[in-house]
Amino acid sequence: MPIAVAPERPAVRSTIDRMAPPSGLGDKVFKWFTLAMALAVVALVFLVGWQLARGSSLAIHRFGFHFLATSTWDPVAEQFGALPFIYGTAVSSLIALIIAVPLSIATAVYLTELAPLWIRQPIVSLIEMLAAIPSVILGLWGIFVMIPWLRDHPFPFLKKIFGWTPFFSGPIYGVSMLAGGIIIAVMILPIITSVSREILRSVPNLQREAAYALGATRWEVTRIAVLSYAKKGLFGAVILGLGRALGETMAVTMVIGNTPQIRASLFAPGYTLASVIANEFTEATTDVYLQALFEIGLVLFGITILANLLAQLLLKTMGSTIKSGAVQ
């Protein structure tokens, strides 16, 4: 190609003239568009709150505070008290935390501090796979594998040893509050583990090195330098797990027995807020019934939002203390 020879005068348009004139409009439109999309998350929170409040206004008006404090759930007589569900949600989540928290945090410690390097990634990947298993499939496994096994082996054993306490007495059906708690524990193990692992990884190495320099063993370093440093964040991870536990639906619904009652025995069937919505929503034949279920949704939304707010605050402020710690 011949190289252009300098022309006497600019006969052709210069490059800049060939370009589209800049317009601030595209930039403005794009920025406002993306802002609108980002604000969708805020809008969604309000949408959920508004929709739930609107759907339950009649029930709130009719039952008032009694809704939360009474334990009769009788759709035929149009008597609705949410206490058994609140109790069931609280107890099953508590069981889940008692099982999941020590296991998850110990696993996170193992993965960040104690495990040989080559084994870490495979275990992390397996935990991610566990997190990917849908709730309904865990419930399926719960019904056909876990419940029969629990009923035949661990439950009778527990009854033999602790049967004198109210918690492990009474008939064993298999489906029970305890089974619900166990399946929720399985569901929240991955999230608590992975968030705790992130927290522990963000502890500055300086902390560890200082402890090692004092001649501490690996475990002492972990206990003194790492765990005490990460306490707040780990608490955040636990609360995050609690938030998930409170709202866990399918797997629990399949193994908890779905009976609106308050029993001390963990072998007795129970019911949770999420389960009652899942089971009865499409059966709600009267307006009040549907409204009562909406109100249960509102209660569930309220407590999970609170748990998540607390968890995110703990995790985010943990992040900032770590950052300022790293600067020192």
Partner: protein, 282 residues
């Protein structure tokens, strides 16, 4: 002195061993579930499972072809809602905004991520089903789409922030406007990461059942109208699992196996994609 040192060493070894056992216990459910899925599901997965409609009660055989198709339709509808909002919201967080405002938006997105999926079902029921007086694929897709939004938003933001600032500068220095820089340079560079974010969110909602119970509702037949109830794999698994028929239980296991294999496949694909992306950008 020596003894106490020995004791401390032993304690450290014990702690390692105990935490190793805990790690095994955490992954044990995965192994157990997968084992039973293979044992009970593999025998029921056959050609007719993928080609036939559910048979009426008492008639053996049949398949879940309508539920598999329905799941994909629902995911498509969910993507229509979740992808644009999530991706461009993520663009805002990564490219625009103030430090404080973005902190707040991230915070809200993370809180929203913790809203139980059943709540989305209730909300969409009130929003769509009550209004149009019908369960529908649209309602199911919307519920899943809402769940995808914060997931995609946060991951998109993260992958965009991985794009080195040098590319933005180089583009702006050529007199290319900001939005074209973002779309043609930044997002194009991060496209694999964005696709990853979308696939992960789809894999996550593909297994959701609770938000579909009273939105998509389920259907034992083909659905040719998105404003009608539609079948979905997880819904079908649920209704078969709690049924009293052995044949349906077998079908539930088969459906579960198919669903898990699809989800794992996406997760592994994503891992493959991200590995290459990291090698490319860094």
């Amino acid at each position: 002195m020596k003894n106490s040192h020995l004791w401390r060493k032993t304690k450290s070894a014990l702690a390692s061993a105990a935490s190793f056992v805990c790690a095994l216990l955490v992954i044990a459910p995965l192994a157990l579930v997968f084992l039973h899925l293979l044992r009970s599901g593999a025998s029921a997965v056959n050609w007719s499972f993928f080609t036939e409609l559910p048979k009426p009660v008492g008639v053996a055989g049949g398949g879940m072809v309508n539920a598999i198709a329905g799941s994909f339709e629902l995911l498509g509808l969910a993507a229509l809602v979740g992808v644009p909002v999530g991706v461009f919201g993520g663009v805002y967080l990564a490219e625009y905004g103030t430090v404080r405002g973005n902190w707040l938006l991230r915070f809200v997105a993370d809180v929203l991520n913790g809203v139980p999926s059943i709540i989305w079902g209730v909300v969409v029921y009130g929003l769509v089903v009550l209004r149009f007086k019908s369960f529908s694929a649209y309602a199911g897709g919307l519920a899943l789409g809402f769940i995808m939004i914060p997931l995609i938003m946060r991951t998109t933001e993260e992958v965009l922030l991985l794009v080195p600032a040098g590319y933005r500068e180089a583009s702006l220095a050529l007199g290319i406007s900001r939005w074209k820089t973002i779309v043609h340079i930044v997002m194009k560079t991060a496209i694999k990461g964005i696709v990853t974010a979308i696939l992960l969110a789809l894999a996550r909602v593909a297994g959701e059942t609770a938000p579909l119970l009273f939105t998509a509702f389920g259907n034992r037949f083909w659905n040719h109208d998105l404003s009608e109830p539609i079948a979905a794999l997880p819904l079908q698994i649920f209704s078969y699992a709690i049924s009293p028929y052995d044949d349906w239980h077998r079908q539930a296991w088969a459906g579960a196996l198919v669903l898990v294999v699809m989800i794992f496949f996406v997760n592994i694909l994503v891992r493959f994609l991200t590995r290459e992306r990291v090698a490319r950008v860094l």
